[in-house]
């Protein structure tokens, strides 16, 4: 099948059985890979009462239709499972080199079932697949292990690892690859660890079948030549995502001291410019990308070893930096390395540690909880102490290992009010009190508060801030188009930053597969996945759905105390209006339950039956059959 590896690999970790099946063409066309394959497989196969860290959950690795092809940055690969952070559908993806390697080995999805009796790692060497004992790999840091495995297996293997946090079930554990690329969110590393899989090593030497290589080559070649001179090419190459630190501060959305405020007075000392001046070692690209937004850095701090890591990215700077009150780019880079090697998502870890710092400031967490250490804003030694406690789930680290929501439930004392999370997953690095569409994005996202589902900050600016009106349709549009890139598995930055149109990506898919595919079809696939993961969440967690789409009190009630966004807040009434508008425009009911009318249009009648059988199928609001689908609200967005 053109454009695909051709094989789905299913590995039973309990029995050691390895099964290969041909990738079904209707799965490929109907779900397009990665996020789509993962959503469909999880929905069809995981029992609704399965413990996310138990044997009945699945752990899935899947590239997408564009991965590994000569298309603009076809680097991505998705990882999926039921999330231990949200108890819902999870998919998280990474760039780097792994996705392409999996396709060249001939695979479109690798499904891990059950739990291994002993720690293992998986080696995929083209058609040869082997489960091997992990031995002393178990317990190693993610980055340390990748180095070791490159020495043991060879440089030409691409390797994904988990760190101690993933072994220990910290719910925001990540999967690391290429010395600093992560599938960071949703706790996919914890589920990999629960299966006792320490690492996956892949080498693929086959050619990817393509329907029309000359057309594909010409298309990409032309896009390369056109974008080389794009005005945003140079800043992205120089600073990567960190260039956004200044903008976020100037626009009052930079999380500072656990989102207490949105402007960091020391932002210039942790900016992209400072990164380039002080810690940058080399610019680093993902597979097939000529924008090289990856920054590989070294942190040099007196009394600590020099540490090399890819990053810090904007999100890491915002959450390990701003939200923890850091003032030194070396400290942020060191925090980045700590999280990476321990196997923790820098976003949720930074957010959670900022939350813990505020608890310490308020006297809710004390030195006794911290092995005698303090937990002061901006103190890298305190950060190191607590992040290690989290990875080991020791002392206060046990409560914090559940993220801000889980920690707040254990700590009590009103801490949930300043836990910046939705559905149990921490906010990305954008405050929302002046960016209401972003708050709606976080709170309605299927996987929890992750900006990759919908990054609506610039849409908020375009539509007008301090209003609920007009926000819901844009959020829905973004929730369809942005995750589409995680389904196709190419980087969305060429669209968001370099004006490569979605239609050009669709043309690429046409050249790759021969499908007579349109953007309209792709958006329908994305909306189908969105409704499926919503249904899956409801079937697992019960109803009413609205009770899960809630915003933290801080972001509703507390005006921003200072900075460019001083005085702004969302307010509960405004949030509820946005939510009403959101459900209406999705064609769901007032409680956020999908309706048969919508599910039928999307080709999911069986899902409507399932929802009906558990009393969670909605009746559409009058006049509220989806209006957004097909319309092209195209805000400039990342």
């Amino acid at each position: 099948m053109d454009g695909f590896g051709g094989t789905i690999l299913r590995i039973n970790l309990e029995t050691g059985d390895i099964e290969r099946t041909a990738t079904p063409p209707d799965l490929a066309r109907g779900w397009m890979g990665a996020r789509g394959f993962i959503a469909k497989t999880l929905y069809d196969e995981v029992p609704r009462d399965a413990d996310p860290l138990g044997p009945d959950n699945l752990f899935i690795m899947a590239p997408g239709v564009i991965t590994g092809s000569f298309a603009p940055c076809g680097s991505k690969i998705g990882f999926g499972c039921i999330s231990p952070a949200t108890n819902g559908h999870a998919d998280s993806n990474m760039g780097g080199m792994l996705g392409a390697e999996v396709k060249y080995a001939g695979y479109d999805m690798v499904i891990f079932e059950r739990v291994s009796a002993e720690p293992v790692y998986l080696v995929i060497d083209d058609e040869n697949v082997e489960i091997r004992p992990a031995g002393d790999y178990w317990g190693m840091g993610s980055l340390d292990l990748e180095k070791r495995m490159k020495e043991d297996l060879g440089e030409d293997f691409q390797i994904a690892t988990i760190g101690p946090a993933g072994e220990n079930g910290v719910v925001f554990s990540c999967i690391t690859h290429d010395f600093g690329r992560q599938a960071g969110r949703c706790g996919v590393g914890a589920v990999m660890g629960s299966k006792k899989v320490k690492a996956i090593a892949v080498r693929g030497t086959r050619s990817l079948p393509v329907r029309d290589l000359p057309a594909l080559t010409k298309s990409t070649y032309d896009i390369i030549q056109r974008t080389k001179t794009h005005p945003l090419m140079e800043p992205w190459q120089k600073y990567g995502t960190a260039l956004f630190v200044g903008w976020a501060n100037e626009h009052g959305c930079f999380p500072t001291k656990n989102f207490q405020t949105t402007f960091h007075e020391h932002w210039e000392s942790i900016s992209g410019e400072r990164l380039a001046e002080e810690v940058l070692v080399t610019h680093k690209a993902c597979f097939g990308c000529w924008m090289n937004c990856g920054k590989y850095s070294v942190a040099k701090i007196p009394g600590k070893p020099d540490t090399y890591v890819e990053g810090p990215e904007y999100e890491t700077i915002a959450l390990c930096g701003g939200s923890c009150g850091m003032k030194d780019i070396h400290h942020v880079a060191y925090a980045n390395w700590l999280c990476d090697n321990l196997g923790l998502d820098t976003m949720s870890a930074g957010n959670t540690i900022g939350f813990a710092m505020e608890c310490y400031e308020k006297g809710i967490i004390t030195k006794e909880d911290l092995d005698g250490h303090e937990l002061k804003w901006g103190d890298i030694d305190d950060f190191e102490n607590v992040v290690r406690m989290i990875a080991e789930r020791r002392g206060i680290g046990e409560a914090l290992s559940y993220g801000t929501k889980g920690a707040a439930e254990r700590l009590g004392r009103g801490t949930l009010a300043f836990a910046s999370q939705a559905k149990g997953m921490e906010f990305s690095g954008y405050d929302t009190r002046w960016y209401w569409a972003q708050l709606l994005s976080y709170c309605t996202a299927d996987i929890g508060a992750h900006h990759n589902r919908s990054w609506a900050i610039t849409a908020d600016v375009q539509i007008g801030q301090d209003t609920w009106k007009g926000k819901a349709p844009v959020v829905i549009y973004l929730q369809h188009i942005r995750p589409l890139f995680d389904t196709w598995c190419c980087c969305r930055l060429f669209w968001g930053e370099l004006d490569v149109t979605p239609e050009e990506h669709v043309d690429t898919i046409h050249h790759l597969t021969g499908w007579d595919v349109t953007m309209e079809e792709c958006m329908l696939v994305s909306e189908k996945i969105w409704n499926l993961t919503r249904a899956h969440y409801l079937e697992r967690n019960g109803g009413p759905g609205r009770k899960f789409d809630v915003a933290p009190a801080r972001h509703l009630d507390e005006p921003i105390p200072d900075g460019p966004a001083e005085g702004h807040k969302v307010g509960r009434e405004n949030f509820e209006r946005m939510l009403d508008d959101y459900y209406y425009n999705r064609g769901w009911d007032h409680e956020g339950h999908p309706t048969r009318e919508v599910l039928d249009i999307l080709g999911l009648p069986d899902v409507a039956d399932n929802l009906e059988s558990v009393g969670l199928l909605g009746e559409p609001i009058e006049g509220g059959v989806p209006k957004v689908r097909g319309e092209r609200l195209k805000p400039k967005a990342m």
Partner: protein, 127 residues
Amino acid sequence: MKIKVKKENCTGCRLCQQICAITRFGEINPKKASIAIVPHFPEPGIFEPKLCTQCGVCFKECPEGAIHKEGDAYVIHEDECTNCGVCVEACPFDVMFTHAEVPTPIMCNLCQKCTEVCNTGALTLVE
């Protein structure tokens, strides 16, 4: 005419390998490229592109006389090559590549396509 390698500019994106294999074999398969990108990570954290320098050692060592100079580049004549591997062993820069599906070693023929897609100045054409 030669291709100049400036390794400190390489970001490891592998576009050069992709266009190389596409141009030579009409296939998407960087493993069939005549360029290597050797990453040196985690330390010191640099990429090392390795590409034929047209030094001619392979030409001198080939026992079959299958390597010929054509213009600025040495090229292997497939019908004369026995895939004995002498040139691969002799290459002082480890830039004679092999792939199980390709009947001869794979070497750069100076088609220059890699320099056209490289966006960082790691690979440039010099007279």
